[in-house]
């Protein structure tokens, strides 16, 4: 949603105040994918993510008349997704070990080309290394790396200091570095 200008969001805010269905449908199309990804980062469950998004869009329409066009609708929507997703997680009583993402595309080994195998394996492992990070670190990292949110935006969303957000991101990258080094060492020992 980074690419969508503030003006556009302000226009959608006014659309909400007018109960404009067409405007809302546009907002839905433009924002769904990014918010879906965010819900998935938190829940690791695509089915849950779409349920959460449905609740968010319904709730947003419900409270539409109280929208303040001067405040960021984009930030509000991220915040709503976060609240609903965390609530969902709390209710689900998660077990200690975090599950591997269900949506991870399965790697296809239909070629025996070594380079391709390596690249595919690397991709799979990258995903794993990101998944095994602590929840909040991963959330902050994903928002920065894949959603383009600024430190301030992430800080505001997650109720952290911007410095803490920065630490999370640096630590996340350093974690990946360590894992990659270990991985490469292991790989080279098989040559």
């Amino acid at each position: 949603m980074r690419s969508i200008p503030d003006e556009q969001f302000r226009s959608w805010s006014h659309g909400l105040l007018r109960s404009d269905e067409k405007s809302y449908a546009e907002l839905f199309e433009a924002s769904y994918d990014a918010l879906f990804r965010y819900a998935s980062y938190i829940t690791h469950d695509q089915a849950a993510a779409s349920d959460i998004l449905q609740d968010v869009y319904l709730k947003l329409w419900q409270v539409r008349e109280t929208i303040d066009p001067e405040r960021s609708l984009r930030a509000l929507m991220y915040q709503m997704v976060r609240n609903f997703a965390l609530n969902h997680e709390r209710q689900r009583k998660r077990h200690a070990a975090e599950a591997i993402e269900d949506d991870h595309p399965s790697v296809r080994f239909d070629t025996v080309n070594d380079d391709e195998l390596d690249a595919a394996k690397l991709k799979e492992n990258l995903q794993l290394w990101i998944d095994e990070m602590p929840q909040r670190r991963r959330e902050a990292f994903m928002l920065s790396r894949f959603e383009g949110l600024s430190h301030e935006e992430i800080a505001s969303l997650m109720d952290l200091a911007p410095k803490t957000v920065n630490n999370h991101i640096v630590l996340a990258l350093q974690h990946i570095r360590k894992k990659l080094d270990a991985f490469r060492e292991m790989e080279s020992s098989f040559d």
């Binding site: 980074r2 690419s3 006014h14 105040l17 007018r18 109960s19 269905e21 809302y24 449908a25 839905f28 199309e29 769904y32 994918d33 879906f36 990804r37 998935s40 980062y41 695509q46 089915a47 993510a49 779409s50 998004l53 449905q54 869009y57 319904l58 329409w61 419900q62 409270v63 008349e65 109280t66 303040d68 066009p69 001067e70 709503m80 609240n83 949506d103 991870h104 595309p105 690249a119 690397l122 991709k123 990258l126 995903q127 990101i130 920065s144 790396r145 894949f146 959603e147 383009g148 600024s150 430190h151 911007p162 920065n166 991101i169 640096v170 990258l173 350093q174 990946i176 570095r177 990659l180």
Partner: protein
């Protein structure tokens, strides 16, 4: 699948690191470009959209024979309704933010003060609590007198043949001429709408239920429930004079009010926020003192921080 955008490593991330470390994290940032993006299943997305748009249309159809909430009374309450933009004068009052648009006027009482006074074009006085927002549509005064509230306000409604309606996230509150208090903070720990009547009679409704509320009485409203609550109006309305008055209310809710009233941030863990407490203070002028009182009541500690306060366990 190609990503929509490639984002750059924020420069702050490089601060305090040596060259080798900086190269490392830049490399890892770039490497992450190989991670497959999550894409929603197209069919499921279409289903969600269909469901949401259908719900919107259903609601529109339900609202369009208007629910029979109008208490239309006899002629001795007529007042001439002339639409004046007198409310704009209220914008001159410091602390009130007004946004004019062709369709509605939006008022917001900025945090950091007790409340802001607004007079609407029909003569109704509204006292808007800190951080609260009131929207007055362009049609106010023509077919009805409807306003939309996010927050808390005390209304002294000018008698008129046109019903005065306050819409909040979960409720519609309808009156002819009376004084009453409405509180609605969606997204907070206590997000139900609460209505307390000082004088006159008020009809309060959600999508399913409706009730008449008499002077001295109060109700809370959520999407599917409408329940009377025991309350002492003189306490509950103490906010109008800068008081804080709570009867078995979650500390999280009290903290929200303190933040808006004094324009500070108060950090507190969930274990503190979820505790209910009873506390009544008139005319509070010092946030620290009031927070100190709360802290003492439940035996926790508090301290000042850079932009406010923090409450914490021993």
């Amino acid at each position: 699948m190609k990503r929509e955008h490639t984002y750059h490593l924020p420069t702050e991330a490089l601060e305090g690191l040596n060259e080798a470390q900086q190269r490392d994290i830049q490399d890892m940032w770039d490497l992450c470009g190989a991670v497959a993006p999550i894409t929603p299943a197209a069919q499921r997305k279409a289903d969600v959209k269909a469901h949401v748009m259908a719900a919107i249309r259903d609601e529109r159809e339900r609202e369009n024979p208007r629910p029979a909430l109008r208490l239309v009374r006899s002629s001795d309450l007529f007042a001439s309704v002339s639409y004046r933009i007198a409310a704009v004068a209220a914008a001159m009052v410091v602390g009130l933010a007004v946004v004019l648009s062709p369709d509605a006027d939006h008022y917001r009482a900025l945090p950091g003060a007790v409340a802001e006074q607004i007079t609407l074009s029909d003569g109704t006085d509204v006292l808007l609590a800190a951080g609260s927002r009131l929207s007055v549509p362009g049609s106010f005064g023509s077919e009805d007198r409807t306003v939309v509230l996010h927050g808390e306000a005390f209304f002294e409604v000018e008698p008129s043949a046109l019903p005065f309606v306050v819409k909040t996230a979960d409720a519609r509150t309808t009156v002819l001429g009376t004084s009453f208090n409405v509180r609605s903070w969606p997204g907070s720990m206590s997000e139900a709408t609460e209505v307390i009547v000082e004088s006159g009679r008020v009809a309060v409704a959600n999508k399913e239920l409706e009730a008449i509320v008499e002077p001295g009485e109060a109700v809370t409203v959520s999407p599917f429930a409408l329940t009377p609550v025991e309350t002492t109006p003189s306490y509950r309305l103490a906010w109008r004079d800068g008081g804080f008055s709570y009867d078995n209310v979650l500390i999280g809710t009290i903290i929200d009010d303190v933040e808006r009233r004094f324009d500070v941030q108060v950090k507190a863990p969930a274990s503190i926020r979820l505790r209910p407490v009873t506390i009544h203070r008139n005319e509070v002028t010092d946030a620290a003192e009031f927070l100190g009182d709360i802290a003492a009541t439940i035996s926790v500690r508090y301290r000042a921080t850079a932009n406010g306060f923090e409450m914490y366990l021993d």
